[in-house]
Structures are given as structure tokens and as C-alpha cells.
Symmetry: C2
Subunit: 116 residues, 2 copies
């Protein structure tokens, strides 16, 4: 989980994921193309390694060519196990903040959500 958040923290890596979203099965060389002017092949490799370790991409070898596929599962997991929670209470949180800004209640009292 932490590995996924860390992997997504970098704009270049998010951009790589975008490219693999647009077209699956790209080789390392293919992935490098859009970054030729901005980054070396080795730099891209490092990013791919991080994405792979976070299981955000899957590698399929075919001879000397390494094909990369987006694996949407970890993104789904984050959506499901992390974002959903905040999403669910979105209105709650916003209204609590509103009250605070109005000086009505400095703290949200008696409304602990509990971690179970």
C-alpha cells in the first residue's frame, strides 16, 4: 500500500501509467520515446522498477523485448480501502469545517467514527 502511494507520488511515473493506459504492451524503448528529451533510458528503467515493485505494472518478456502492462488492481485497492472511506464522510467533514469557520463548534463532539 505504502509502495503504491510512493510510486504514484512522482509525475513521471504517473505519466508512464497514463501511457500504458492508452496502450498496453509497450516495450522499454516505447516507453522511453516520449521522454527522450527529458530523461535517460536508465532513469525510465528506475521508474519502471518502482512501478513494478508496487505491482502497478506487470512485465511480459518476449525474446529480448520487455513488454509492460498496466495492472489496475493496486489503484483499485487504494480507491477501495482508502479513498472510499474519506469519500463516504465527505459531507460530514465539510459541514464540520463549515461550523468551525462559523465559530459554532471548535471540535466535532461525540462523533468519533471508530477504527473497526
Amino acid at each position: 500500500m505504502d509502495a503504491v502511494f510512493k510510486a504514484l507520488a512522482d509525475e513521471s511515473r504517473r505519466s508512464i501509467l497514463d501511457h500504458l493506459y492508452n496502450q498496453g504492451g509497450l516495450t522499454l524503448g516505447d516507453i522511453c520515446e516520449p521522454f527522450v528529451e527529458s530523461m535517460s533510458r536508465q532513469a525510465v528503467m528506475k521508474h519502471l522498477k518502482i512501478l513494478e515493485e508496487a505491482q502497478l505494472i506487470t512485465i511480459v518478456w518476449s525474446g529480448r523485448e520487455k513488454h509492460h502492462y498496466l495492472n489496475p488492481v493496486p489503484i483499485h485497492a487504494i480507491q477501495d480501502r482508502w479513498i472510499r472511506k474519506f469519500e463516504k464522510q465527505r459531507m460530514d467533514a465539510l459541514s464540520a469545517l463549515k461550523h468551525a469557520l462559523e465559530g459554532t463548534t471548535p471540535k466535532t463532539k461525540g462523533k468519533k467514527h471508530g477504527s473497526s
Copy 2:
């Protein structure tokens, strides 16, 4: 957007957000409590500054006390502008990968999604 991803990349910061989710309006001191064994107050302050700059939290001053509120809007934005996209094509991507693993098609042909 990048600031939000960067802010969420750190476990301590995600933990702080969790605490603010459970109870809004916590002061700096309150937020420090769970971390008293692991981190100094100044370290927590730095995390809060990063969270604030990413607009993930909102500050409300009351005298000398600084109250913190979760702002779920940026998380919602990420869900909406970033994760949704991958979520939508989840099955597509997975089946493309499956085909690749079976050696059926090395690349996803004629299926570019286009960025518009």
C-alpha cells in the same frame, strides 16, 4: 494535484489524516499525542504544513490554539480526475494483460483510448 499525491506518499501524513477523519478540530498538541514516542512536535508541524499546502487540511485559529480540519475535496478530486479513469478501464486492462500472458497478443492493437 502533484502536491496532493506527494502529501499522501508519507505514512505519517496519511495517519494524521486518519486521526482528523476520526475527529475534526484537533489542535497541534492533540495531533502530536499519538506520535509522542515516535516523532517530535516540530516534525508533526512539518507534516501539517505539507498537508495544508496540498489543501488536505484547513486551519482554524482560536486564540493560541490551532485547530485542524480534514478537507476531503482534494482526495475527491484525485478519485474523480485520476482514479476513475483507471477504474473505468479496469477490466479492459486486465484482459489485455491476460492475453499477453497467454502469448495471444504482445500488444493491445487498435484500441488507443485517446487523451481528449
